[in-house]
């Protein structure tokens, strides 16, 4: 009996430490409010409640560990409804990400796969408002959106190619202690499919036709609006089964991670 318990305890600790190791680092984002470029009703601030977010995007090696546990999300087995043909296209095979750096962000993943990964970690994807709220911070300020240098930094990244090959954690650490919100890869959000662009909104009664007015105006916030506009436009062009080489993800959690 004693032996039995000993073995079980050992297993327990092995599993436990393993699980802790697998849990990626998160930081607390304190409640606040902001006016996002898109989605605020009559430009009223949106309140973002306190939540936790991963410090880094999910990496190739982390995603490989997930696939080992969930083979139905490997590139040969994933169902067509959950991912298009380009899913993990740069991976050599189901369990080998080839020449990609283990510490580079995993990309070419669909929204379904990203969502499932976070669920398996006991987490979820961040909402668009949450993500944008974290992303507006530079190294010192919670909201650096009106800073010229900050916007220039973001926009200069949009012009660079293949930044997805870089390792995580090499861009700046922002006010919250979060890395890589800009400069590495684009990221999935849970409600990416709540954006209405051109074609969609024309067919709709759409009360948010005017929300993109920023792109037409000429004022000091032009750069800031343009950077955000790029992100919203990109999200608006996505479908949940799409996967592209510059699109990765990170997870969030409403409650304190275990």
């Amino acid at each position: 009996m004693k032996k039995y318990i000993f073995i079980l305890t050992t297993i327990f600790f092995v599993v436990f430490t393993d699980a802790v190791k697998a849990q990626s680092e998160m930081v607390l984002i304190k409640e606040g409010s902001f006016v996002p470029l898109y989605g605020a009703v009559s430009k009223k601030p949106v309140v973002v409640e306190s939540f936790y977010i991963d410090v880094y995007p999910v990496t190739n090696s982390e995603f490989l560990a997930f696939i080992k546990e969930n083979p139905s999300y490997s590139k040969s087995k994933i169902k067509g409804i959950f991912a298009d043909k380009s899913y993990l296209s740069y991976w050599k095979n189901d369990l080998d990400f080839g020449k990609a750096n283990p510490k580079s962000p995993v990309t070419s993943v669909s929204w379904f796969a990203a969502k499932k990964y976070c669920e398996c970690e006991g987490k979820r994807l961040a909402t668009m408002d949450e993500w944008e709220y974290v992303a507006m911070a530079d190294t010192k300020k919670i909201d650096a959106r009106t800073k010229k240098e900050f916007n220039e930094y973001i926009l200069s990244w949009y012009e660079k190619s293949k930044t997805y090959e870089n390792q995580i954690g090499q861009t700046f650490r922002n006010y919250w202690g979060v890395y890589d919100m800009h400069g590495l890869v684009w990221e999935w959000t849970s409600d990416f499919n709540s954006i209405f662009l051109s074609g969609e909104s024309r067919k709709d009664k759409s009360s948010d036709k005017n929300l993109f007015c920023g792109s037409g105006s000429v004022n000091a916030t032009d750069l800031m609006d343009y950077a955000a506009f790029m992100r919203y436009a990109f999200r608006g062009s996505l479908k949940a089964q799409y996967s592209t080489r510059n699109l990765g993800f990170r997870c969030a959690s409403t409650t304190k991670p275990k």
Partner: protein
Amino acid sequence: MKKITIVLLAFTLSFYGCKEVKKQEETKAEITKKEISDLSIYNLPSKWTTQNGNDIELKSLRGNVLVMVMIYTSCKAACPRLVADMRDIESKLDKGTKQNVKLILVSIDPKTDTPEKLKTFAIANQMNQDPWIFLRSTEENTREFAAVLAVNYKKISPIDFSHSNIISVFNPEGELIFQQEGLGVNNEKTIETINQQAAKI
């Protein structure tokens, strides 16, 4: 002592909770004669509640042609027209094969649209009988289902949503085969597709 063992064991197992259980999948595959196809919505595990308060899995609808639309019942602008479009489609279906078709209205506002609310709406619109079904689920499942249908929606005030106006047709295997976009558009092709599929059953 035994108790501790059990607790430890349960705790240990819970860490593997997200691992896929292969055996279970296999038996499930045995139950349904044909395996669910790759592009089928019956791959979604989500649970839904009907206007009658019955909990169902989408899978239970397998074998029917499904015509689906996403709405919310407190909507004043687009939804009544979408509902009218659905009704128009229903009225033009082939009488001989109509029994193989289900017309389904899925709520994008599950907080407000309780089964009771859906029931009231169904009765008020004379849609509280076959082939009509109203469904609601959690906000997360709804978001996922919309993602599959490529329907976008956003809450824009406590009582209002912006949403895509798309009517989707699924074949008996649950594969999306046709979408009609817009309000009051020509529905000939939609009806033709539904009738063709329903005739195959």
